[in-house]
Amino acid sequence: MADLYLDILILLDSALRLATPLVLAALAGLYAERSGIVDIGLEGKMLGAAFAAAAAAAVTGSAWMGLLTGVGASIALALLHGWVSIHQRGNQIVSGAAINIIVAGLAPTLANHWFHLNGQTPLLSGDARFQALIWPGVDAIGNLPVIGPLYAEVISGHNVVTYIAILSVPIAAWVLYRTRFGLRLRAAGENPEAVDTAGISVYGLRYRAMIINGVLCGLAGTALSTGLGAAFVRDMSAGRGFLALAAMIFGRWKPVPTLFACLLFGFVDALQGRLQGVELPLIGEIPFQFTIMLPYIFTVIILAGFVGRIAAPRASGIPYSKEG
């Protein structure tokens, strides 16, 4: 029993780490889509930020400089997508896909150019990397029954970006539903004409959403290369941008459900790693390929069984212009 509890805690701990980039990227997508811009370029921005953060951290030796640079790079990409989507009224899906591809090529090219480690950045250590934060009193509380392991394993011991990710969820909920900015943002994604006739600039709102989107994707990428990992590796975002997009849709474009969707993805992913090679009663050992597809099948089943119809923000993906 105690073993099982500990096992679950370890899974939760792992889920939290795996969910960190997902949560941040999914929120980034959420801000964008709530303002009316579809963003399938989460992957590219994450990758770009991962590269910029790792590169800057390697050069300066400071993880925080890495974070700043990563976020900066991601904002630049987000504004590019914003400009294409807003002022150029371009196809947002193509723009997002293009950004993914450009970054996938450009990041290793630059890495090679600067570090001659073709496609990778130097390994980070010490202050160049976000270390796990050990919470106060872990030694004392950690010995308590039940709560102790929870505190020590799950709550304490993540890097700062993970905590930022978790915190940004209630912040996003508050911003969207309780502030003027959020009200206008959501309106821009549902009916930009209403925003326009209220005398508010739809463009301005959407650019601001893209800046937030850039910040969040930047954090996600930074977490990848300087928190969870310790260097930039080619294609290291490994489809997480698309998974984040799925989590956002799964969470119905709402912050808290999106968090749970990300945690669920993280948890099932951790669980599938744990189930690999385990002999299950009656079934025996499941082939790796089947445990690996478990999270995906699970998602489909949940979507088909429990979630029901999901409606996107009505104006998302549609360029806005007043005069045809």
Partner: protein, 373 residues
């Protein structure tokens, strides 16, 4: 604000010819900057790229060979999009299509090509279609968002095929996950062999019969979408589901139909890659072509002719890019990927970039014409 903003209707050749060319030029200009930054000559690079894509027979063959993949996946995205569905599942559908044709090709060992080839084509289309139909049905009936389900189905397909390739389909003795070779009856003839049969000699390349199949599919898709009642229903459902309901169009059936066709088209990609070149099923043979199909479909404005042109552009980038990386060792394959991304951005997403300038030009020309006339 007034005079410049007034819209000038551009002639068709300007919107579908001049503007895309300008955009392409812009993409190459930006890429050229990057090439210049790493110390190579942009002009030289462009020359190599163009020569590598179109300069000689084999290059052209490879260009069209890659384009074949993109035509299939691009059509797959566009047919679903006509029905309002965003099909990100081309990758998985192509994978399953490959599985389908492999099962048929290997299962019909010993049969004559005249039977094996059509059966394998059918196998590919059916497997791809079935793989796409499930997300469509889930979307229509259970409201499961198709973007998520198709992404998930990509992963599931990859796992499934990979499991089969280390299990029942594994080629004995191979170290990589691949099936045994298809019987020769299931090899699609290469175009250069076909032409040689007619007495025309061209350079050899992997370009094979499936390119013609792809072109035929583009034509059929156009006819189906624009000229049949089912295509019409697909467009109505995509354009306004409420009106579709009011007009008595069965929504679920139409959604599933569009995804069946989309999946079937994506599934046919295996014709080119597997029956045309590799002659066996290999894991991950889809190489992301399914995703590129999204860009191809939207760059081609979801019109079959546009898709064929966009696919050829991408084929040229793949082939010319490889050539460029080959000839200019400082230009890595990563940089080529970045250039491809820039082309997608400029040619696919920035269609309005030069419109105001071109409109101004036309206005001035129009004014001149009036003054003289």
């Amino acid at each position: 604000m007034t005079a410049e903003r007034r819209a000038v209707a551009l002639p068709a050749w300007a919107t579908s010819g001049l503007l895309p060319v300008l955009n392409l030029a812009a993409a190459f200009a930006v890429s050229g900057l990057v090439v210049w930054a790493i110390g190579e000559s942009p002009l030289e690079a462009l020359k190599l790229l163009l020569y590598g894509a179109f300069g000689y027979g084999e290059a052209i063959g490879y260009t069209f060979y890659y384009a074949t993949n993109f035509i299939f996946t691009g059509l797959a995205v566009s047919v679903a999009f006509k029905c309002g569905l965003f099909n990100i599942g081309g990758e998985g559908q192509a994978m399953m299509g490959g599985l389908g044709l492999a099962v048929v090709a290997i299962g019909l060992d010993g049969w004559p090509p005249a039977l094996v080839l059509p059966a394998a084509v059918l196998g590919a289309a059916i497997f791809g279609a079935a793989w796409a139909a499930i997300p469509a049905w889930l979307q229509a009936r259970r409201g499961s968002h198709i973007v998520i389900t198709t992404i998930m189905f990509n992963f599931i397909a990859a796992s499934l095929v990979s499991w089969l390739l280390v299990g029942v389909l594994k080629a004995p003795g191979s170290q990589s996950p691949e099936s045994a070779d298809f019987p020769e009856a299931a090899w699609l003839p290469k175009i250069h062999d076909l032409l040689a049969g007619l007495g025309i000699q061209i350079e050899g390349s992997p370009l094979n019969l499936s390119f013609l199949v792809a072109l035929a599919c583009a034509g059929l898709v156009w006819f189906f979408i624009e000229r049949t009642k089912w295509g019409y229903e697909i467009r109505v459902v995509g354009g306004n589901p409420g009106a579709a309901r009011f007009a008595g169009i069965p929504i679920t059936r139409t959604l599933v139909l569009s995804m069946l066709i989309a999946g079937g088209l994506a599934g046919l990609m295996g014709l080119n890659e597997l029956m045309g070149l590799q002659h066996r099923l290999i894991a991950n043979f889809t190489m992301g072509y399914g995703f590129v199909g999204i860009a191809v479909a939207f760059m081609g404005r979801s019109h079959p002719i546009g898709i064929v042109l966009a696919a050829i552009l991408f084929g040229a980038l793949y082939q010319g890019g490889a050539e460029l990386a080959f000839e200019m060792p400082t230009i890595s394959r990563d940089l080529i990927i970045a250039v491809q991304g820039l082309v997608i951005l400029f040619a696919g997403a920035l269609e309005h970039l030069f419109r105001p300038q071109v409109q101004a030009l036309f206005r001035r020309l129009g004014a001149l014409g009036e003054a003289h006339g």
